[in-house]
């Protein structure tokens, strides 16, 4: 018998604290697979952000720093400018990256920092118990939009890839989803490509992963996958927004 699917080595075997069905776990695994495949475990430094994935450093086997809320791209900049031959990635939620950390991601991209950003868009603040994120959909109920998000009052959900692609220092910008084996396979390739873009020194690479938060969406994990597909995808179209010719 040949093993066709096994736990990646870059993932520790700690049981993760995520809620049942939370796709943070899937994306962690994809990142670890990419690290394994590229053979960069010993020279990769991850930057965890504040959000449900704050404990990411417990789940990976590479070095890690835990950054202040929103500041992971700045922390990654600090690391990368000291250790330019290491691989540095951040793992950030939509509250972290698209709200409090807006300036940091935009300027890391503007500077063309050679880092990789894994951006988990689950349309909500998971860790703090379900408040509105900048990516929360119109009509979506959260604890701070109890009547649903209203364009007039709260503004419309922000599309990060569409914005970041405008920055010259961003080399690879793509949006993928974690809701089906097929999309997960696409996501996996995107993440690996993002690391390759970094290895080639082409600029900042960002992979937005549409994700779920069954707990705060008030749905089962299975329903959540459906909601992601039916509600999120129309507003957040999948695809590569920017891609360098150098990497396939």
């Amino acid at each position: 018998m040949k093993q066709v699917f096994k736990r990646p080595q870059a993932l520790s075997d700690t049981v993760m604290h995520y809620c049942p069905g939370c796709t943070h776990g899937i994306v962690h695994r994809l990142v670890a697979e990419a690290i394994d495949e590229l053979g960069i475990l010993d020279r990769t430094i991850g930057v965890a952000s504040v959000g449900c994935s704050v404990l990411a450093y417990e789940y990976f086997e590479c070095d890690f720093q835990e950054a202040a809320h929103g500041r992971a791209p700045a922390v990654a900049t600090g690391i990368k400018r000291v250790l330019p031959d290491r691989v540095v990635f951040t793992y950030q939620g939509d509250g972290d990256l698209a709200s409090i950390g807006t300036a940091e991601i935009i300027h890391a991209a503007t500077r063309g920092e050679k880092i990789t950003v894994i951006f988990i868009n689950n349309a909500i603040y998971g860790m703090t118990g379900g408040q509105m994120a900048p990516t929360t959909l119109l009509g979506q109920k959260t604890t701070t939009t109890p009547r649903g998000r209203l364009a007039e009052y709260h503004g419309q959900p922000i599309r990060i890839c569409e914005m970041i692609k405008e920055l010259d220092g961003a080399a690879y910008v793509t949006r993928v989803a974690s809701n089906s084996p097929r999309n997960i396979a696409v996501a996996k390739r995107a993440i690996r490509k993002a690391f390759q873009v970094q290895l080639l020194g082409l600029g900042l690479s960002l992979v937005e992963v549409l994700s779920t938060c069954p707990t705060n969406w008030g749905l089962t994990p299975v329903e959540s996958m459906k909601w992601l597909e039916e509600k999120m995808m129309p507003h957040y179209p999948l695809g590569e927004f920017k891609s360098p010719g150098e990497v396939k």
């Binding site: 020279r43 890690f64 720093q65 600090g78 000291v82 300036a103």
Partner: protein, 355 residues
């Protein structure tokens, strides 16, 4: 280079001193009156294989410092009052994660946008912790460009030794003025090994830099470890200058730029036959309590600051009622005049006995 006197701006002298002490990474954001420091770094660092990054904000800058320090670099940032306020969360993180680095604050008049002239009104912020939680920086209050230059390598070294952020608390005058200064040679600094740094599983072991402790008792353990370290620093690292203290009718206490002016005032007072002494804290945290503890024959204290009265609290705490403590301060960028200080000294010398 050693031995040659240069006429340098304080801001530039600190920058050069940092580079000679092995600092190769600087992250900062412009603000008056410290701009010459990052500008010097922007010119010089690339020449010595270092990196200067102008961050998008002070918040980003301090978090870049966090990343770089966590990666094992000798790293610094600088700013002035409002910019330092923005760094408070990051500073608390650095202290909690026990990352060594150097932060320079060339203070200006506050609060708010205030002005750009020299002040000392960020003493509380620097020494008591402007950020959240129980932590301390190692804070230096130099009085001259030369001392600022001499304290810079020391600040880096102590930061490394104690794995704790250090701060140089200067002001607009110290940053802007030129004075003759003697720099040490470019050191071939061998940084102490930083086994804890995240450099990519060095030695096959993985490293994590974090200050998250969801379990209260774990977080209490961190706090205990920090407090033990702070006690050790308080025991070992107090620095100050004492002048003619025993037998003085009035002992002045002042640091930084103000101490220079106070020294002028003391000369005037001596000419009038008043016995005056001076305690000049060089470390502001740890506050040099030892300078006060063994005192016997002094009349009273006069604390002079360019603030509404901040360090005076630390003096009162250590004096603990044994002698009267008075305060004289100027604010908003106004530098005290030696003659005005002399007037205070006269009053106190007249009014006060030995107790």
């Amino acid at each position: 280079m050693l031995g040659e006197l240069l006429l340098m701006k304080g801001n530039e002298a600190v920058a050069e001193a940092a580079i000679r002490a092995g600092c190769r990474h600087f992250f900062g954001y412009p603000i008056t009156p410290q701009n010459e420091l990052p500008e010097y770094m922007a010119r010089r660092l690339p020449e010595v294989g270092g990196v200067f990054v102008q961050a998008e904000s002070e918040v980003a800058a301090i978090n870049m410092v966090y990343g770089a320090a966590g990666a094992g670099a000798r790293v610094m940032t600088s700013s002035s009052s409002p910019g330092i306020s923005l760094k408070q969360e990051g500073i608390s993180y650095l202290a909690a994660s026990e990352l060594p680095c150097l932060i320079v604050n060339m203070m200006r008049g506050g609060p708010g946008l205030g002005g750009i002239q020299p002040a000392q009104s960020d003493y509380f912020q620097a020494t008591k912790g402007g950020g959240h939680g129980d932590y301390h920086l190692i804070v230096f209050g130099p009085e001259s460009v030369q001392e600022m230059v001499d304290l810079t390598p020391l600040a880096f070294d102590l930061a490394d030794r104690y794995r704790n952020p250090a701060m140089i608390l200067g002001d607009g005058i110290l940053g802007q003025m030129m004075e003759p200064v003697e720099l040490s040679e470019m050191l071939d600094v061998q940084l102490p090994p930083k086994e804890w740094a995240t450099t990519g599983r060095s030695g096959g072991r993985r490293h994590v830099v974090s200050s998250l402790y969801l379990d209260s008792s774990e977080l209490e353990k961190l706090n205990k470890r920090l407090q033990d370290k702070y006690l050790e620093i308080m025991r070992t690292e107090q620095r100050w200058e004492s002048l003619d203290v025993e037998g003085a009718e009035v002992v002045l206490v002042a640091y930084g730029t103000t101490a220079r002016v106070v020294k002028s005032a003391m000369n005037l007072a001596r000419e009038e036959g008043i016995r005056v002494g001076l305690i000049r804290p060089i470390t502001l945290w740890p506050f040099p309590t030892k300078a006060f503890e063994s005192l016997e024959d002094v009349g009273r204290f006069l604390v002079v600051e360019m603030s509404s009265g901040q360090m005076v609290e630390d003096v009162r705490l250590v004096v603990n009622g044994r002698w009267p403590v008075s305060f004289y301060g100027r604010t908003g960028g106004v530098v005290p005049d030696p003659k005005d200080i002399l007037a205070r000294i006269r009053e106190l010398a007249r009014g006060g006995g030995t107790r």
